[in-house]
C-alpha cells in the first residue's frame, strides 16, 4: 500500500519540524526554568518577561514549520491527494 502522500517529505524535514515544535512546547512546559524572579527586565520579574517573549518565539517556530512543510507542496492539492488515488 502506498504511503499517504502527505508523508512524502524527507526525514530531515520532519525531524526539524519535530525538534522545533517540541522546543516550543518544552519552553512553556518546563516550568522550573522560568519560575524565578531574577534577572528582571526593567520592573518585570523573569517569570513574566520569559513567557511574554516565548509567545512570539513560538509563533515564529510554527511559521518556520509551516514553511518547511509547505515548500514541497507547490502543486497544491494534486500532490497532496495523489497518494490515495495511486494506491
Amino acid at each position: 500500500m502506498a504511503k499517504p502522500a502527505g508523508l512524502g517529505r524527507s526525514p530531515a524535514t520532519w525531524g526539524t519540524v519535530a525538534i522545533l515544535l517540541i522546543a516550543a512546547v518544552a519552553g512553556a512546559l518546563w516550568v522550573p526554568i522560568y519560575a524565578r524572579s531574577l534577572p528582571k527586565l526593567g520592573p518585570f520579574p523573569f517569570f513574566y518577561w520569559f513567557q511574554f517573549i516565548w509567545v512570539p518565539l513560538t509563533a515564529a517556530l510554527c511559521w518556520i514549520c509551516y514553511l518547511l512543510l509547505r515548500s514541497k507542496r507547490t502543486a497544491g492539492s494534486q500532490s497532496a491527494d495523489g497518494g490515495g488515488a495511486v494506491k
Binding site: 500500500m1 499517504p4 502522500a5 502527505g6 508523508l7 515544535l21 517540541i22 516550543a24 512546547v25 519552553g27 512553556a28 512546559l29 518546563w30 516550568v31 522550573p32 519560575a35 524565578r36 524572579s37 526593567g42 520592573p43 518585570f44 520579574p45 517569570f47 513574566y48 513567557q51 511574554f52 516565548w54 509567545v55 512570539p56 513560538t58 509563533a59 515564529a60 517556530l61 510554527c62 511559521w63 514549520c65 509551516y66 512543510l69 509547505r70 497544491g76 492539492s77 494534486q78 497532496a80 491527494d81 495523489g82 497518494g83 490515495g84 488515488a85 494506491k87
Partner: protein
C-alpha cells in the same frame, strides 16, 4: 458601584446595536447557493480563508470569560493564574501537529463534528455518542459562563444585577441573549465570524490603551508589582496561608505545568474549536493560523496583568470586597475607575461582544454534534440535508435557552464548577479524537471503557476537592501520588492505561473490531472549495449519490472540484456494520 453612567451605557448600547445589525446582515454575506446544507449553516460553507479564520478562531478561543476569569485568578492568587499564558503558548505547536489532519479527514468525509469522525473511524455508534455527549455536556456550562462574563459587566454598569425585582434584574441579559439567538438561528456560523471582527478590534484597542495608559496613572510597573506582591503576601484568614505570590513557588510548579498542558490538549477537542477549524477553506489555513493566533495569547497575557493593576487601585479592592469578595468584578471595576466613561464603555463593550461571539459558536458546535451524531445517527437516519439544518438551528436555540436557564437559575458557583468539570470531561475524548488520527491500535470498546472510567474518576476527584471556601469542586487540581496535579491530566493517564490494557485483552480474546470508513489519503486531503457551486443539478446529483450509499468517495480528493462538491454536499454514509 451601582451608579449608572449615561456615557458608558450609551457606548455599550451603541456597540450592541451595531453588532446586532452585523449579525442579521451576515446572513447575506457570501450567500450559499443552498443554505439548507448543514455545512452552510453550521460551518459557514467551509470557505473561510486565513484572515477570517484568524478572527473566528481568536474570537472563539479567547472568550469574555477568559478576559474576566484569568485576571480574576491573577488578582486572587498571583503567578499561579498565569498558567493561562503558558497554556496558550503550548497549544499552537501541539495543534499544529494534529489539527490539519482533523481538518482534512472532516473535509474529505463531509464531517461537521468530531463525533462523526470517531463514529466513522471505528464504526462505533457508542464511541461517537460518547464523544458527542461529552462535547455537549462540556459546552453547555461554557456558554453559561459567557453569560457570567456579561453579568459582571452589567453589575458594574449598574444595570440588572442589583435590582430586587427578578424580572428587571434578568431583563438586559435575556434581551441580549434572545437577539443573539435569533441571528445565530438565521445566519449560522457566518454571524459570529463577522462579529468577531468587531469583537477583536474592540479587544485589541482596549488592551493596548489599557497597557499604556493605566500603569502611568498608577505610578509605574514597579509600583504595580510591588503592591500586588505585598497584598498577596498577607495571610488569608480563611486558610492561614498567604493569598499567593507574584513568582511561582516550587510547590506550585507541577500544578502549573499540568494545568497548562491539560488545557492545551483539551482546547482543540472542544466542539467550538473544532467547528472553527472545520470552517477553514484549505489545510494550510490551519497551519498558518497556528503561527498567527499567538497574537491573541500576547493579549491574554497582558489582560492577565490587569489583575495586578486592579490590586494597585484601592477603590477596586473595596469594590471587590463589597461584592462579596468576588474577584470577577476586578477587571470591570478597574475599567470603571481608571478610564474616562466613554472609554470604559468601549472596554465594557469589548467584554460583552467578546461573550456573544463564543456563545454563538459554542451553540452552533453543540447543535452540529447533536444533529449528526444523535439526530441523524439514532433518531432519523434518512434525514435530508434540509431537515438536518432545521434540526441544528432548533438545537442551537435549545442550547442557548438551556445556558440562559443555567446562568439565571443556578448560582454562579455552580456554572463555574461545571465549567471546571467540562475541562476534565472534554480531555477524555482526546484519545478517541486525536490519537485516532494516527492509529487505530486502540480497540473501540477499550476506548469507550477508558473514557467511562476516566469520566467517573475525574468527576469524583473534582467533587472531593475542597478549596476557596467550598467543600466540593474547590479547585481543578488535586494531589495525585503526592503531586498536586490537574485532575484532567490524571484522568487522561488513567483513561489511556485502561484503554491500552483492555485493547490487549480484547485482541487476545478476538473481540470483533469495527469497520474504518476513512482511508489513509483522507488525512492529508486538501480539496479546493469552489466559491460558486457548479449548479443545482450537481447538488442534486451529489445528494443522489450519497443517498445511494456511495461510500468510497471515488478517488477521494483527486477527482477535483466536482468530487469535492459531491462529498461536501453530505457525508458519505458510513456503511452499517454490526456494532
Amino acid at each position: 458601584m451601582t451608579h449608572l453612567n449615561a456615557v458608558t451605557l450609551f457606548i455599550v448600547s451603541a456597540a450592541l446595536v451595531i453588532v446586532t445589525y452585523i449579525g442579521f446582515a451576515s446572513a447575506r454575506w457570501r450567500p450559499a447557493e443552498d443554505p439548507m446544507q448543514l455545512n452552510e449553516w453550521g460551518l459557514g460553507g467551509r470557505g473561510f480563508g486565513t484572515f477570517v479564520s484568524w478572527f473566528l478562531l481568536g474570537g472563539d478561543i479567547y472568550t469574555a470569560y477568559a478576559f474576566i476569569a484569568v485576571p480574576a485568578l491573577v488578582y486572587a492568587t498571583g503567578a499561579a493564574g498565569f498558567y493561562a499564558l503558558s497554556y496558550t503558548i503550548m497549544v499552537y505547536p501541539i495543534a499544529f501537529v494534529f489539527a490539519p489532519r482533523l481538518w482534512s479527514v472532516a473535509r474529505a468525509r463531509g464531517y461537521v463534528s468530531p463525533g462523526e469522525f470517531v463514529r466513522g473511524r471505528y464504526g462505533s455508534q457508542g464511541l461517537g455518542l460518547a464523544v458527542a455527549v461529552t462535547g455537549i455536556l462540556a459546552t453547555m456550562p461554557y456558554i453559561a459562563l459567557q453569560l457570567v462574563g456579561i453579568e459582571s459587566v452589567l453589575t458594574v454598569l449598574g444595570i440588572g444585577g442589583t435590582s430586587g425585582n427578578a424580572f428587571v434584574r434578568d431583563l438586559p441579559l435575556t434581551i441580549a441573549f434572545a437577539v443573539l439567538a435569533v441571528y445565530t438561528y438565521l445566519a449560522g456560523l457566518r454571524a459570529p465570524a463577522l462579529i468577531a471582527f468587531v469583537k477583536d478590534t474592540l479587544v485589541y484597542v482596549t488592551v493596548i490603551v489599557a497597557i499604556i495608559y493605566i500603569p502611568g496613572k498608577l505610578g509605574g510597573w514597579a509600583h504595580i508589582f510591588g503592591t500586588a506582591s505585598t497584598q498577596l503576601n498577607t495571610v488569608n484568614p480563611a486558610t492561614g496561608k498567604p493569598h499567593g505570590s507574584i513568582v511561582l513557588l516550587p510547590a506550585g510548579e507541577w500544578a502549573y505545568a499540568t494545568l497548562a498542558l491539560g488545557s492545551a490538549l483539551a482546547l482543540f477537542v472542544y466542539p467550538h474549536t473544532t467547528t472553527g477549524v472545520f470552517a477553514a477553506k484549505r489545510r494550510n489555513v490551519i497551519r498558518r493560523n497556528m503561527a498567527m493566533l499567538p497574537a491573541y495569547s500576547l493579549v491574554l497575557g497582558l489582560i492577565a496583568l490587569f489583575g495586578y493593576m486592579a490590586r494597585a487601585v484601592p477603590a477596586v479592592n473595596a469594590g471587590v470586597k463589597a461584592g462579596g469578595g468576588n474577584a470577577q468584578l476586578s477587571v470591570p471595576l478597574l475599567f470603571a475607575h481608571m478610564f474616562p466613561s466613554w472609554f470604559a464603555g468601549v472596554a465594557d463593550a469589548a467584554i460583552l461582544v467578546g461573550a456573544l461571539v463564543p456563545a454563538a459558536i459554542m451553540s452552533i458546535a453543540a447543535a452540529n454534534l447533536f444533529t449528526r451524531t444523535i439526530y441523524k445517527e439514532l433518531l432519523k437516519p434518512d434525514a435530508t440535508p434540509a431537515q438536518e439544518t432545521r434540526m441544528a438551528r432548533l438545537a442551537s436555540l435549545v442550547m442557548k435557552i438551556g445556558a440562559l436557564g443555567f446562568a439565571l437559575e443556578l448560582n454562579r458557583t455552580f456554572s463555574i464548577n461545571l465549567q471546571l468539570l467540562g475541562g476534565v470531561w472534554i480531555l477524555q475524548t482526546f484519545p478517541a479524537i486525536v490519537i485516532s488520527l494516527y492509529t487505530r491500535w486502540f480497540h473501540r470498546a477499550a476506548l469507550i471503557i477508558g473514557w467511562a472510567v476516566a469520566m467517573v474518576y475525574g468527576t469524583v476527584q473534582a467533587y472531593r476537592t475542597p478549596g476557596g471556601g467550598q467543600a466540593h469542586f474547590g479547585a481543578s487540581t488535586a494531589p495525585v501520588f503526592g503531586h498536586v496535579t490537574y485532575i484532567a491530566i490524571a484522568a487522561l493517564v488513567l483513561n489511556l492505561v485502561v484503554a491500552a490494557v483492555l485493547t490487549l485483552v480484547f485482541r487476545l480474546v478476538g473481540l470483533q473490531d469495527g469497520y474504518d470508513a476513512t482511508k489513509p489519503s483522507d488525512y492529508v486531503a486538501d480539496p479546493v472549495t469552489l466559491p460558486v457551486a457548479a449548479g443545482p443539478s450537481a447538488r442534486r446529483r451529489a445528494a443522489g449519490q450519497t443517498a445511494g450509499g456511495q461510500t468510497e468517495g471515488a478517488a477521494a480528493g483527486k477527482a477535483g472540484p466536482t468530487a469535492g462538491l459531491a462529498r461536501e454536499s453530505g457525508p458519505a454514509p458510513a456503511p452499517r456494520i454490526p456494532d
